[in-house]
């Protein structure tokens, strides 16, 4: 059984007990335990079931590389699936549930898949479920979705209880990884004077070196780590963060760090995760190495574990995964596990070494009384939910002549692979190291920065060296090189001297035994998380998948949260063998960020709730909100769609507003309209280029409606332009157009007409602007008193500065409704007071505020176009009958040349018309008009579409505008619009001006 040892456990505090639950069972651990070590201490070897076959699975690793022990963590608003037990620190009250099982972990119906395994080979889904087509959606998919997949998504009604944030950090040198290599590299870089940021994914410094043993400068490794950490802590130019994982390296020295602040203390004040958005001039990746598994039959049975992990559990947490352990290896390092276990009092039955000879560690093991079997292999591990027996055979051969040994745990070591993920994220290349049978960073082909030079250095075992002495030397050199690269002079210091027992060379073992038969290969797992076996990769090769990337996708090798941390090299080796090629030729799949999954919360940072997205508010926003505003998003602005009174529907409110504005008095908050000041001796010339019509001739005090086209001739904006003085114009833009048109103007001024004397300023938000609209508009302004707003002094399409009531203002006599209308601009800080004054004074004139829908209906009744409704980026002024706004006097304006292109002048273009349903109903928005015949795809030919459609309460019927082929020539004709409701709407083509054709109402 797996159990807590009486001694050892350098990371746990035995004086502090912690209680937690696993699948509802209460268990105890110690502070400093990971969930994995605490579960093992409670003899909970099985921690989940596998993805595809639902095989029982136990923990196989001790860190970020763990593929199996994924749990659902927390409850309710703090539930999170797929959390690694090995990187989860236990705390009082932790609740964890295992995944991938139904109805429970011990008894699982999906496990029947394992019996069907020979019918579920690689590519099975692709092969089986393609035909018949409807079966996928209705039969296969629902079943597969239930049996496949990892953890459950949180309940849709739950909301994350925690907060998250980003932090922008800047440093000369970033060191990723706080093992001995990272610490030494940080020190070497910092001693040069560089500013250093050092991040470590676990809660502890020193990595695995203290577990592996040896000495540095004659002292034990932990002592060295302790000294180094305290030294770094006192250096003013060093920042150290533990529980902060280097998640990804991107262009320009941009690195993401994922800091887990309170995963181990949930509920404390402050953010749970912090995403560090780091800019580093140089990055040192000291990310260590990961041990590989060995591919033998039954290597996924709970109790089979990486040798290094087993050593970690004993040394770090005082837990042994079994009482009778067998160690299988192809290298000397695994002997350390055997020795560690033996010294901790665990029975090590034997070391099965695939090699003929081993180094001095073997002698040490033998002296402790451990049996060492050279040239041997594991043929098969037997057991369901726990290792029961291990069959041992010769490494050379097919796996016959087995000897069975009763055991309850197996430690395996297939050699070590440098963690090259971060090196590779931004394009660092790898070379194959034959001696260690692994890929390591190629120092000559690092990720390149903007200057064409490398900006990432690998250090320590992530760079290839595995022995402590070499690791420290390499890290020291990398730290110095980083310091130098950022412009400092490294100190002439010697690297610390590490000493460990010498090791004999490892031998690559990709399959155990070397010629294992198919029965064994079908049980030899490469990728535990995705249930990929040796036989699957071999099958993919036989079926023609030669590219490693294709094989990955076909077999799912190295996918999902694991990203091939354990499976990568073993899978490649099997593929290379099956293709009769060499591993470096087959190559490796691409490592992509993040290194391990980071939380969605961290990615979103602060952007949730109130600050999910900026909402722009006008000065009168709160009044609207209190007065029944039904909000409509317009860009980032919120505008009132309609002011809904108690007992009214939104539609009722719109109809009331529409009628009242035509009959009495309406107020519209028009503050969102863009207002751009254009000033300078060349401003008139400039505006003549910007607008299709002439603005330079506009008289001071007057207004003109203008159209803007892109250089391709398409309408991009419209609005009223006012000439303020000889040199100054004020251009109104659409609400959504203010920033865009400001940018458009600046772009032309800065890139094309840089010698024109024009300045532009966006003063949109300086003003609160209120449209005072309706037959009583003048009356209310006159009641407030101040400037003369009579027809004679302030005629239609003119503006005046003055005072209305107590308010300094600019009054524009413009109308987008066809009514008598003023748009009054006051300083934004007085907007609410001005609005209040109008509401108060307007009571006797039947004042009502109105929203954007009323605005739309009023303008549609008048046949006024709306940018974004009648235009969609493909519409030109000619399509909308706006020829009158295209100046013929000007030599040029943006869009003029484009309008002469053949397609723009094509008489077949759809043109604007009014549309009226034959029964007075409202046409569906966006509906297409259909003509005779079908197109090449068998669809009805289209001859137009609805661009705006409303119910007009004033006219008592539906009105619409649309673009119709030959529209203006087809007045009175009936056109058909099939709706998405299977009805066919019939509408008559009419003039787009439905109301007050001669404009008498606005001109009073």
């Amino acid at each position: 059984m797996s159990t807590r040892l009486a001694k050892q456990g350098r990371l746990i505090d035995r004086s502090k007990k912690v209680t937690f639950t696993f699948n509802g069972t209460s268990m105890q651990g110690y502070e400093g335990d990971t969930l994995a070590s605490a579960l093992l201490a409670n003899d909970q070897m099985m921690m989940g079931r596998s993805f595809k076959y639902h095989r029982p699975r136990g923990v196989v690793a001790s860190g970020a590389e763990e593929p199996n022990a994924l749990v659902g963590l927390g409850q309710g608003n703090r539930f999170e699936p797929n959390q690694r037990a090995t990187t989860t620190e236990v705390f009082n009250g932790l609740t964890a549930t295992s995944q991938n099982h139904w109805p429970n972990l011990e008894f699982d119906i999906g496990a029947v898949n394992t019996a069907l395994a020979r019918f579920l080979p690689a590519g099975f889904y692709y092969k089986t479920f393609i035909h018949p087509k409807p079966f996928w959606k209705h039969v296969y998919e629902p079943i597969i979705r239930r049996s496949a997949g990892l953890g459950k998504a949180p309940d849709k009604d739950n909301r994350d209880a925690d907060t998250y944030e980003h932090f922008y950090a800047f440093t000369d040198v970033l060191v990723v990884g706080g093992g001995v290599a990272g610490l030494q590299a940080a020190k070497a870089a910092a001693q040069s004077g560089a500013k250093v940021l050092l991040i470590e994914q676990t809660a502890h410094w020193g990595g695995r070196a203290p577990v592996d043993g040896g000495t540095v400068n004659g002292e034990p490794v932990d002592k060295f780590v302790e000294q180094l950490v305290s030294e770094l802590e006192t250096m003013g130019n060093v920042t150290m963060r533990s529980r902060c994982m280097g998640a990804g390296i991107y262009d320009h020295g941009y690195v993401l760090g994922y800091e887990r602040l309170s995963d181990h203390t949930p509920g404390v004040q402050g953010p749970r995760h912090r995403l560090w958005r780091i800019r580093a001039k140089q990055v040192v990746t000291a990310t260590g190495a990961i041990e590989r598994s060995l591919s033998f039959a039954g290597n996924d049975v709970p109790g089979v574990m990486l040798a290094s992990a087993m050593r970690d559990y004993v040394v770090n947490w005082g837990v042994t995964p079994g009482d009778r352990v067998i160690v299988a290896t192809n290298n000397d390092d695994a002997y350390r596990t055997a020795i560690t276990l033996k010294q901790a009092g665990v029975d090590v039955l034997r070391i099965v070494d695939a090699r003929a000879t081993a180094g001095p560690l073997a002698e040490e093991a033998r002296q402790l009384g451990i049996r060492v079997d050279p040239g041997k292999a594991i043929a098969k591990v037997k057991g369901g939910k726990r290792v029961k027996k291990v069959a041992i055979c010769n490494q050379e051969g097919v796996g016959g002549a087995r000897e069975e040994v009763e055991a309850d745990a197996v430690a395996m070591s297939g050699g070590w692979s440098p963690v090259v993920h971060l090196w590779s994220h931004c394009g660092g290349k790898l070379i194959w190291d034959e001696a260690h049978a692994h890929f390591r960073p190629d120092p000559d082909r690092p990720p390149l920065g903007a200057d064409g030079k490398g900006f990432v250095l690998a250090a320590g075992s992530s760079n290839g060296p595995l022995a402590l002495a070499d690791v420290l030397k390499d890290a020291d050199a990398a730290g110095k090189a980083a310091g130098k690269a950022v412009g400092h002079t490294p100190k002439r210091t010697k690297a610390p001297v590490g000493e460990t027992t010498a090791e004999a060379p490892m031998e690559a073992v990709w399959l155990m035994p070397a010629n294992a038969d198919i029965q064994l290969r079908m049980k030899s797992w490469l990728d535990f998380q995705n249930d990929v076996k040796v036989s699957d990769v071999q099958l993919a090769a036989r079926e023609g998948y030669e590219s490693v990337e294709h094989t990955k996708r076909y077999t799912t090798l190295g996918m999902a949260t694991d990203q091939g941390k354990l499976s990568n090299i073993n899978g490649l080796a099997i593929l290379a063998d099956a293709l009769e090629s060499e591993i470096p030729k087959v190559g490796t799949t691409t490592f992509r960020p993040p290194y391990t999954p980071i939380s969605m919360g961290a990615i979103g940072g602060e952007a949730r709730g109130d600050v999910f997205q900026p909402i722009r508010r006008t000065p009168m926003h709160n009044w609207h909100d209190k007065n029944g505003a039904d909000w409509e998003p317009v860009g980032h602005w919120r505008r009132t769609y309609a002011y809904v009174r108690p007992g009214e529907s939104v539609h009722d409110a719109v109809n009331r507003e529409v009628k009242n504005t035509r009959e009495n008095l309406g107020l519209l908050d028009a503050s969102t309209l863009g207002k751009l000041i254009v000033k300078g001796p060349d401003a008139g010339k400039f505006l003549d280029m910007m607008y299709t019509n002439m603005m330079s001739t506009l008289k001071v005090g007057k207004c003109r409606y203008g159209l803007m086209c892109s250089e391709n001739g398409f309408l991009i904006d419209d609005g009223v332009v006012a000439r303020i003085d000889e040199d100054t114009w004020l251009c109104h833009t659409t609400t959504g157009g203010a920033e865009r048109i400001h940018g458009h103007m600046e772009e032309w001024l800065q890139t094309e007409w840089w010698d024109w004397k024009v300045y532009v300023a966006n003063v949109t938000e300086q003003y609160a602007q209120v449209a005072v609209v309706g037959p009583n508009a003048r009356k209310v302004l006159e009641k407030l008193g101040g400037m003369d707003v009579s027809k004679e002094v302030l005629p239609f399409m003119e503006w005046r500065d003055g005072k209305i009531g107590a308010f300094d203002c600019r009054a524009y006599r413009i109308s987008f409704s066809g009514e008598l209308s003023y748009e009054i601009a006051v300083p934004a800080s007085q907007g609410q007071a001005f609005w209040d004054a109008l509401i108060e004074a307007g009571k006797e004139f039947g004042v009502m505020p109105y929203g954007t829908e009323c605005l739309h209906i009023l303008r549609a009744e008048k046949g006024f176009i709306m940018i974004g409704d009648e235009t969609d980026g493909t519409v030109i002024p000619q399509d909308l009958g706006l020829h009158w706004a295209l100046s013929k006097k000007k030599d040029d304006y943006l869009g003029k040349r484009a309008h002469s292109r053949s397609h723009m002048a094509d008489p077949e273009r759809w043109k604007l018309v009014g549309l009226e349903t034959v029964d007075g109903s409202v046409l569906p928005d966006g509906a297409y008009a259909v003509g005779e015949g079908v197109n090449a795809n068998g669809q009805r030919n289209m001859i137009g579409r609805v661009t705006s459609t409303y119910y007009s309460a004033n006219l008592g019927k539906g009105i619409a505008m649309g673009l119709i082929k030959h529209g203006p020539d087809r007045m009175g004709e009936i056109v058909e619009f099939p709706g998405t409701d299977d009805k066919i709407y019939k509408a008559k083509i009419v003039d787009p001006i439905f109301f007050d054709k001669d404009g008498e109402k606005q001109n009073v």
Binding site: T163, Y168, F170, A761
Partner: protein
């Protein structure tokens, strides 16, 4: 004139830093040739300051001038004086190609103060805010999470943050989140 009211009417929040809406600040956008002597004199007359260099802000209390771009300055004057100062400036610049326009009401101004103020800003703006890199006298136009913003330091522990008036509510809430209790980063 009716009583002008700033976007959030002096709202405040206290967390790892103090966040306060400062009320109305007179602001004039001045565009022109920054090397022009007439323009320099107009700036001097309005603020008592010289034309600032790139990313420089010269400010005392609510009067001063900030560099915005190679052809734009932000002139700061007391809110009550902005119309008069603007008229003086327009007069002084009447023979020069320049644009001076009142933008006081288009903005909201916050102060973020306390020992962790640098970190609060460092959570929302992609700017290096260590004491070596950013000091009183410097201004940055950047972004505050998802909106445009500018900031400078009044003193070693106080930032003045400017954003568009329509975004005042967003920026206030944003700074509140960034200043939430228990969220010290511990680097600045």
């Amino acid at each position: 004139m009716s009583e002008p009211i700033s976007a959030l009417n002096h709202a405040s929040f206290s967390g790892i830093a103090m966040v306060e809406e400062c009320g109305l600040q007179g602001m004039i956008t001045l565009r022109g040739d920054l090397s022009d002597k007439v323009l320099a004199k107009a700036v001097k007359d309005a603020t008592g300051q010289k034309v600032p260099a790139q990313r420089e802000v010269l400010v005392k209390g609510d009067t001063g001038v900030a560099w915005m771009s190679t052809d734009e300055l932000l002139v700061l004057v007391p809110y009550a004086e902005v119309e008069a100062k603007l008229a003086d400036m327009a007069g002084a610049l009447s023979g020069t190609h320049a644009l001076a326009v009142n933008v006081s009401d288009a903005r909201a101004v916050f102060s973020v103060s306390g020992p962790s103020a640098r970190e609060v800003l460092g959570k929302v703006a992609p700017v290096e805010l260590s004491a070596e890199a950013f000091q009183p006298g410097q201004i940055r136009r950047s972004r505050l999470a998802q909106v445009a913003g500018a900031f400078w330091m009044d003193d070693a522990e106080t930032f003045r943050v400017v954003c568009f008036r329509s975004a005042a509510d967003y920026v206030f809430n944003l700074l509140k989140v960034a200043a939430q209790p228990g969220s010290e980063v511990g680097v600045y």
